[in-house]
């Protein structure tokens, strides 16, 4: 009995000692882990990283030398335009050339790239305690964008690095004008304010659509004024906006739960019809507007409201951004008042993914971690005077709490609650290529929503019957 007690005590002591040692070593490791230490075996290595050129990435480029200095890993951080980063990045991955070690990918690219098996999962690297920053704090990344983007088939393919999202954007000077407020309330029976529902957005669009010679906020218009402006060009993000902002909010979507195309579902027809009805209140050139033209139109002051990518807004609503800078108000993507549970917002969360052809995965993985590191992200936003956060905690930074941008950042946060990455389908680009021109013809009144979506359903069904990528 005494022997047994002594053994038990010894075992307990051993366990405590082991646990203490484990905790201590983990704590020590966390304390001691640094990019410089982890990168020692790779110092002098050169990695090539391809990213998209926007003001956000240009700020990141200014930060990259800090990583180089800290780790000794040379980084060729190449920035290309949206189209080029997709084309060149995909060409590099598909061809197996391996020029780039890591490439920024939009969610919509993942289906074809995962199907072609040209991306390298980072799970193995993540379990390497020497390489992995124990304080990376990935649970701080904004969801559901992150989870829906980086994972597939139980593996992780990179880190969320850019959180492009769409927001509601309106002219505050018009919405706050006393005459307009009174007239709006008299006509629609509720106060004029930034739209929180799609139906309010439609009413505001109708209300502010005026002919030249009519009055707007006390001034006589010299040209027509429009209630709303949306992207309308075939290609670009016209169809994805219709999908994420309208179809999803009406409870539809391109695929059903099993990945089968359901474009001609009644919910989708109603959603596309609603979207097309908004064209009556839009500038006549909307069919040629790309996602870049939409901010131009808002900046020129000829439309009252819009749905636009928030990072493009940053280029217009800045101190030297033109006549209307500082006169805007923002909100999350309006909900469908008839179906609040189906709330969805448009966005294009994007990740930095590791090429399966990379010969320097460890050094690249370190850089990828550094990009999403909390400190890097904080510096990025501070240096850029704001931006589009990937971390929830970034919204608490001083730079994100500046009064003049509060409306914008609150709108981003509200939208991001409902932004999901695109479903991973190898046929994404084919579907977009089919649907873009079809929905545009609904917008310009050449096709009915029903006919366009039935034709879309016919064509997409001929591509795939079960369209989502399986594990």
């Amino acid at each position: 009995m005494t022997m047994h007690k002594a053994k038990s005590k010894a075992m307990l002591a051993g366990l405590i000692a082991t646990a203490t040692a484990f905790c201590y070593s983990a704590a020590l490791q966390a304390q001691q882990w640094s990019y410089a230490e982890a990168a020692k075996p790779y110092a002098g290595t050169t990695i090539r990283v391809l990213d998209e050129i926007t003001p956000l990435q240009e700020t990141m480029r200014r930060l990259v030398p800090e990583f180089v200095e800290e780790t000794g890993i040379q980084v060729e951080y190449e920035l290309l335009s949206h189209g080029d980063v997709i084309n060149r990045g995909q060409a590099d991955l598909f061809s197996g050339r391996g020029h780039y070690d890591a490439i920024m990918l939009h969610g919509l690219q993942l289906g074809p790239l995962l199907a072609a098996r040209v991306l390298q999962p980072i799970d193995g690297l993540k379990t390497n305690s020497t390489l992995t920053n124990p304080d990376l704090g990935l649970d701080d990344l904004i969801e559901p964008a992150n989870e829906s983007l980086v994972n597939h088939g139980g593996s992780q393919y990179g880190f969320l690095t850019w959180n492009y999202n769409q927001i509601y954007w309106a002219r505050a000077d018009l919405l706050n004008h006393p005459d307009e407020k009174a007239a709006f309330e008299a006509r629609y029976g509720y106060p004029l304010a930034p739209a929180e529902t799609m139906q309010q957005m439609r009413d505001i669009a109708e209300f502010f659509t005026r002919k030249s010679g009519e009055a707007l906020a006390g001034e006589t218009l010299r040209n027509d004024f429009y209630g709303i402006v949306l992207e309308g060009i075939p290609g670009g993000t016209t169809f994805t906006t219709v999908w994420e902002v309208f179809m999803n909010n009406w409870g539809g979507g391109v695929f059903d739960a099993n990945g089968k195309p359901q474009l001609d579902a009644p919910e989708n027809i109603a959603a596309v019809q609603f979207w097309a009805d908004l064209w009556k209140f839009a500038p006549p050139g909307q069919a040629e507007y790309s996602l870049i033209d939409v901010p131009t139109v808002m900046g020129n002051g000829i439309a009252a409201q819009s749905i636009a990518f928030s990072d493009f807004v940053l280029g217009v609503d800045r101190p030297d951004g033109g006549t209307y800078a500082g006169q805007f108000v923002y909100g999350g993507i309006p909900a469908n008042a008839d179906l609040l549970d189906a709330r969805s917002a448009g966005g294009e969360p994007s990740l930095m993914a590791l090429s399966s052809h990379s010969k320097k995965p460890e050094a690249t993985y370190l850089f990828m971690q550094w990009m999403v590191d909390k400190q890097t992200q904080a510096k990025l936003l501070e240096m850029g005077g704001g931006g589009v956060p990937i971390r929830r905690s970034s919204f608490d930074l001083d730079v994100m709490r500046e009064a003049e941008r509060q409306s914008l950042y609150k709108a981003m946060a509200a939208s991001l609650e409902h932004v999901q990455a695109k479903p991973k389908t190898p046929n994404f680009f084919d579907i977009d290529n089919i649907m873009g021109p079809l929905v545009q013809q609904v917008g310009i009144g050449r096709l009915s929503a029903e006919d366009a979506l039935k034709e879309g359903q016919r064509q997409v069904s001929s591509l795939c019957s079960s369209c989502l990528l399986t594990d």
Partner: protein, 292 residues
């Protein structure tokens, strides 16, 4: 120089140019032909596919649409460029006032990169924010409810006119150079015989200019078929697919959808089409116009 050296000398001179042609034209074309008969998934060459890429392509209504758009585009742009180019060249040939200033200015549109041309016209005619759209077209209600590049009825015409704007000066300069090089003696003889200016134009100028016209016309015709940048910038093929020309269709197929096998098949078909057209053109021009 020995006789053998004499015999090979011209070939030796041609060899560098021929080598360049083989490397930059023939090899890619043969490779495209090879790809067109293979399954190419995401840029990786797979199994032999027989005619399946061709049949899929021919079953696709967007293929035929793009070819029809190109035909309409050429039918609008090409005759205008040709007539305006020739008319302008004839005027310039009359020693008009300020010719030394006009001639260098004519180079400007032709020297501009097509993408820049697209942007320039976008700034002028973009619906509701273009300089001319906002201040003229919409202010005076010239196109109610639509804009130049948003209208399925006008977009292609407008794009063809952009092409006319860019390439007419080139035609003008080429024809002007041809007119300047014409021999004077036949005109003197015709004048002595009492020929009218119209007779001189139809009986002398046109026949003497025919070889140049055929070559310039053929080059412009081929070039008009390949138009891409201005359309990509101004309409991206819309509204709907009403301005989706073959180059844009092929670009999307290759670089957006990565259907490389089909796009290679499309390239081969276009090449065959042009080979037949150009051969016909050449033979007709040789026999009927005494060109070449």
């Amino acid at each position: 120089m020995k006789p053998l050296e004499n015999r090979w000398y011209p070939y030796a001179l041609l060899a560098p140019a021929f080598l360049v042609l083989v490397v930059v034209s023939l090899v890619p074309f043969l490779f495209a032909m090879y790809l067109s008969f293979h399954q190419v998934n995401f840029g990786r060459i797979g199994d032999f596919a027989g005619w399946s890429n061709y049949s899929r392509l021919l079953d696709n209504e967007r293929t035929w649409n793009s070819l029809w758009v190109a035909v309409k585009f050429i039918l609008i742009a090409f005759p205008l460029q040709f007539i305006l180019g020739l008319g302008g060249a004839l005027l310039l040939n009359k020693r008009v006032w300020g010719r030394s200033v006009i001639l260098p200015l004519l180079f400007i549109p032709t020297m501009m990169a097509p993408i820049v041309v697209g942007l320039v016209w976008k700034v002028m005619f973009a619906g509701s924010w273009g300089l001319l759209s906002y201040n003229i077209v919409e202010r005076f209600g010239l196109l109610p409810g639509t804009s130049v590049f948003s209208s399925p009825d006008y977009a292609l015409i407008a794009l063809a006119l952009v092409d006319v704007w860019q390439w007419t000066p080139f035609m003008m300069l080429a024809f002007f150079a041809g007119l300047q090089a014409l021999p004077v003696s036949p005109y003197r003889a015709a004048a002595v015989d009492g020929a009218t200016p119209m007779q001189m134009f139809f009986r002398l100028t046109l026949p003497l200019m025919a070889p140049l016209m055929v070559v310039i016309g053929m080059l412009r015709f081929i070039d008009a078929f390949k138009v891409f940048d201005t359309i990509y910038t101004l309409t991206a093929g819309g509204p709907g697919t009403s301005t989706e020309v073959p180059s844009l269709f092929a670009y999307r197929m290759s670089f957006e959808q990565w259907r490389i096998g089909e796009s290679a098949a499309f390239a081969v078909l276009v090449w065959i089409g042009f080979f037949i057209l150009c051969s016909l053109f050449y033979h007709v021009a040789k026999k009927k116009l005494n060109a070449f």
